[in-house]
Symmetry: C2
Subunit: 184 residues, 2 copies
């Protein structure tokens, strides 16, 4: 009974291989560059926050630093005059997306962006697909469910499926147009 | 004839000392925190972009890295549903603000943000005052003048004077309300 599932899994990993073996972030960075070059949106990945311990000023070289926890999401910018912010999350589990993938202050930040009228979402890579999952749906789940992970069927139902395009990467702006059609 | 000027200069540096000796960035960071706490705006300083050369993964410690040139401006976020982005520039010259303080790709970026309908400006600290200088005025100067620096009188005329407040830092949102009153 499990054999067809295994075949399916192998097939899916072949699809991923076609995406030139790039991880989720690289496929999103590619799209950001495309949107910038084509003047569609101005969205950048923020630099990784670090704490600098030791610098050699004569060479402007950082000799000791550590990674800090981000307070915001990784990507932000402007699209159709709107503030837009999102994070990329790779989920290796098949049945649910663990909420501990998102830091508490990131959730607080998502609430703030929603309150101030911004567009905010996650791009979740799961079960071989890419999903735009709206900040509104994330907060609704957190506020109304006791579960510490979002079942895949919720992501599949409420999320907006994103397509990979060989020339663009993950073409997430198409998903934004669909998910926020009342705003765009 | 120069004596009164010197007295004036000493007086101004006394004012700066009253600002708890903080530099421009610290006074803006303080305001960002205040706006966040008071739910006025959600604006963060982006982490400094670095290129990582060597990491000790066992300790998650960066052992060698270098500073990279930023492509965007240092601060961005959302205010009154609007995308907002700016940079802080300390100018030590008294007569003009050298344009080489702004990297070429930052100028390109400012043009893009303007085109996409965002609010974008510089906060310039000069001659003991703080000025919000709009991206529109910066681009107009660059496109129409051959000079490589903006005379102080242009900044003083076109810029919006920002006030330092002991509890807030540099209260730049008041300047945004004034400079962009048609948008806010």
């Amino acid at each position: 009974m499990k054999y067809p599932g295994l075949v399916n899994k192998t097939y899916k990993s072949t699809i991923n291989y076609k995406n030139r073996g790039m991880n989720l972030e690289a496929l999103i960075n590619e799209a950001c560059k495309y949107y910038l070059d084509e003047d569609i949106a101005v969205i950048y990945k923020k630099p990784t926050p670090i704490g600098i311990v030791d610098v050699d000023y004569s060479q402007a070289l950082i000799k000791k630093a550590y990674f800090k926890e981000p307070s915001t999401l990784d990507y932000n910018g402007i699209y159709h005059k709107k503030y837009i912010e999102f994070d990329a999350k790779e989920c290796h589990g098949k049945t649910s997306f663990p909420l501990n993938n998102i830091h508490d202050h990131q959730i607080k930040h998502i609430r703030r962006i929603l309150k101030h009228g911004g567009i905010v979402f996650l791009i979740i890579s799961m079960n071989g697909g890419y999903y735009l999952f709206k900040g509104e749906d994330l907060i609704e789940f957190i506020d109304n469910e006791t579960r510490k992970s979002i079942p895949f069927k919720v992501i599949d139902n409420k999320g907006y499926k994103l397509n990979y395009n060989y020339n663009i990467g993950i073409d997430y702006i198409v998903g934004v147009n669909e998910a926020y059609k009342e705003l765009i």
